[in-house]
């Protein structure tokens, strides 16, 4: 299964709706399984770097298949993944919370990234987007 434009649009709209309910401004990016954006939306009045940061978070989550905040575990000196931060070959890797992989069972089919609010709220908005997808696909 791949994330189509229609599905991505519904996820993005659900995430923006959630942000409006929380009375927050944010950017939402949804990428496919190769980390290429399908949609990016920036709400009116959101500061402009957030669109890029949301894309980075979505890329990180989709490419590794784990939430973007879990990337830091790979860079821990106690773990074999030390030095991971130097592998930032396309300047997109980010450890900031707010990116979640979109999964169909065990298969990673994309990623969603949210930027503009606090990390905890970003994750909540991501989950609202993913919940919208599972409502469509089931």
């Amino acid at each position: 299964m791949v994330v189509s434009l229609d599905m991505a649009r519904k996820m993005g709209k659900a995430a923006i709706k959630k942000a409006q309910e929380m009375n927050r401004l944010c950017s939402v990016a949804i990428v496919d399984d190769r980390g290429i954006p399908i949609i990016i939306y920036r709400m009116d009045g959101t500061s402009f770097p957030t669109a890029d940061i949301a894309y980075d978070k979505a890329w990180t989550a989709a490419s590794f298949g784990i939430p973007s905040s879990d990337i830091v575990k790979l860079g821990d000196p106690a773990c074999p993944g030390f030095g991971f931060n130097t592998e930032n070959y396309n300047y997109r890797l980010t450890p900031i919370a707010g990116g979640m992989p979109v999964k169909n069972g065990d298969e990673v089919i994309g990623g969603i990234g949210v930027s503009g609010t606090t990390p905890k709220e970003d994750v909540a908005i991501c989950q609202a987007g993913i919940a919208a997808l599972s409502a469509i696909v089931r």
Partner: protein
Amino acid sequence: MTKEITVEESVPWKKITLEVAERMIAAAQRWASNAGVPCCVTVVDKAGAVVALERMDGCPFPGIATNAAIGKAYTAAQACVSNYLLSKMLDPRYIGEIPGSYYIGLMTQLNCRINLIPGGEPIRDDEMNVIGGVGCGGPSDAVGEISDMTVCQVAISSLYE
């Protein structure tokens, strides 16, 4: 979020809002799907930052098209002219021939983020101030009259409908 809209803000293309951007993208996608050229369309604000981006299903070379769409829209918004004019400046026949035509240095401007392939157009308000840009990537220039530039022009003309 739920603030009252004043008369100035209700003028549709004084400012690139998410709603305006989505309307432009929808018009461009309608046209592109009729023409059978799936593409990626990006609308940026006057800072050159993405307001809305949508990539249609089946867009050829998606990675390049998406990156190019962002770059073209950014370039048009920063340079305040169509990308087509900028690409003409780089025509090798003109370099060094006309005084002031050494535009090859454009290539590395703005941290190499600019893209000089035709397919980006600035968006202007009713007083001709640049308020944003639109960029398109995906359709080949070789497909008859269908090109990235046409898709951008369709998106801009949708503002005036």
